[in-house]
Chain length 336, copies 2
Amino acid sequence: MEMTLRLIVKRLSGLGERKAIQLICGVLSKGNEAIGIGDDCAAFEFGEEYLLVSTDIITAETHIHKKMTPWQIGWFVVAINLSDIAAKGGKPLGLVLALGLPRSISDIFLKELMEGADLCATTHGASIVGGDTKENPNVTICGTVFGTVKKNEFMGRKGAKPGDVVAVTGTLGKAGVGHYALQHGIENREITRGLFEPSPRLKEGMVLAGLKVINSCMDISDGLSSSLYQLQELNNVGFEIEKERIPLAQDLVKLASQENLDAYEYGLHFGGDYELLLTVPPSKFEEVQRSVEKTGTSLTVIGHVTKNREIHVVDGGSKKILPNGGYEHFRGSSFC
Amino acid sequence: MEMTLRLIVKRLSGLGERKAIQLICGVLSKGNEAIGIGDDCAAFEFGEEYLLVSTDIITAETHIHKKMTPWQIGWFVVAINLSDIAAKGGKPLGLVLALGLPRSISDIFLKELMEGADLCATTHGASIVGGDTKENPNVTICGTVFGTVKKNEFMGRKGAKPGDVVAVTGTLGKAGVGHYALQHGIENREITRGLFEPSPRLKEGMVLAGLKVINSCMDISDGLSSSLYQLQELNNVGFEIEKERIPLAQDLVKLASQENLDAYEYGLHFGGDYELLLTVPPSKFEEVQRSVEKTGTSLTVIGHVTKNREIHVVDGGSKKILPNGGYEHFRGSSFC
């Protein structure tokens, strides 16, 4: 039987990324980690803390836009790694960066890339402590971050409960509007900054974790709808999202009105925002919101967790199933 | 002045890998790490221990031989990461693997790759705890390992003292003979195993560290001569290596005699062996050797550390400067 099955060779493009991750999880032995594959970070017991580890790999062909400066590439790869620590309420310790670079790359490219990476790390209380350089036909950068969180403050993806309030930090669609602008030749560094220079929500994550009332948390790097579907699967719950409560980025609202776009499509489905999505008991929400807003970042209720496993979006009077618009190609998202 | 300098754009192929690393080190801010760039691992204070972290990236174009099976690729990337922990006397906790894969890769390739990676990790007391999958035109795999070592057992690259005995674990040229066999169409899985399935010297590293007498230690992934030049630079010392004492792999000796090769060229200059190179006061060597040999691995004196900064190789009656035959192209070696 197994021999027969082995003859059915599937290509990853047909398999899709989530199935590829399931395949990987099926192979791996469980080790001494407390939390492994399936959350933003892996976590190990380390005295009273967890040691958090996460890794992200990006490449010029599929993840580095041609308009990104080397400085922005460096900033970006560090920011997306730090975001995984933020989502667990962790404090970053440091990062290692592995650089796969073509021989034709200039030393100025390398210098600027490292300056962007260094500034993003130091701005967020971390540092780049090592790495690797190797030749690669395509610019490919792999960052790995590690940090710590007190065990009783760790915010996992698992834990969402029916009745919980669903909230997001900041605004959505910052990356989406940047992407739209680039596609349509709108040159505006302010608009593309949301896409190329995301801010990991570390301060906010640490504040949230310290309150010890968050039931579940993840970053929405894959987009809001994709993230909700991931929480649904892990927690065996559903969601009711109120479309008009989704906090949209101002640049998005402005451009959408000029270009006659549905801004909510970007807010709901476009990845790359690196905000935090969390669920919390309604009785605790006010305290949570007050604490987060002291960091200068908004926290907005966008719906609630339901027992029914479907994910609905309420738009005025109508209620529809929310499509899963995230990157379910063999293109993105992490298995850690 | 700076503007003028900035116009002299150097390509990395001209710059070379060590200069690229110097450039990177010049850019990075020092953070809270105890030991950063320049050793096999970065190290952070973690109570009475150091947290060790290291990363390695490999790609199909330059580092994955066409004859490697997916299983061997998985084993290899984990083994070379674990070797960095071994060189510091550390105990591995776990690894994360980031996979950049073309869409055309089959699910069987992915499954076998993960099986090789998983077995290498579990064989050495570690586990793969997470990772990332992304599309990449070329198979590119980045592994990051983390582990711990007691602070007073950490074996750094710095510390070699004139008069120290220089020794290596195991035998050299295992990777070299595998490479020669492949280049010359000699199909022999036993011979290529040394190249494709290296064994990280974790047990040996932990035994060495526990003795607390090792003055300096590193792995010789870049080749013996290259490693000696790295220790020379860091420690401001020299070496006298006795060519005939270099423990050569049996397969190498046999093939060299059949093919009329100079086996010592492979033992001295070829990378990929992942043995440990160490220096220790002569009065302690016997104890060290006895302890390492209890693990089933030999430890062989190949020379001593000199005050004179040159590196000589003694061959019978003659003494010559040892050429630095390692990979000083923009191709290899890590900056961590």
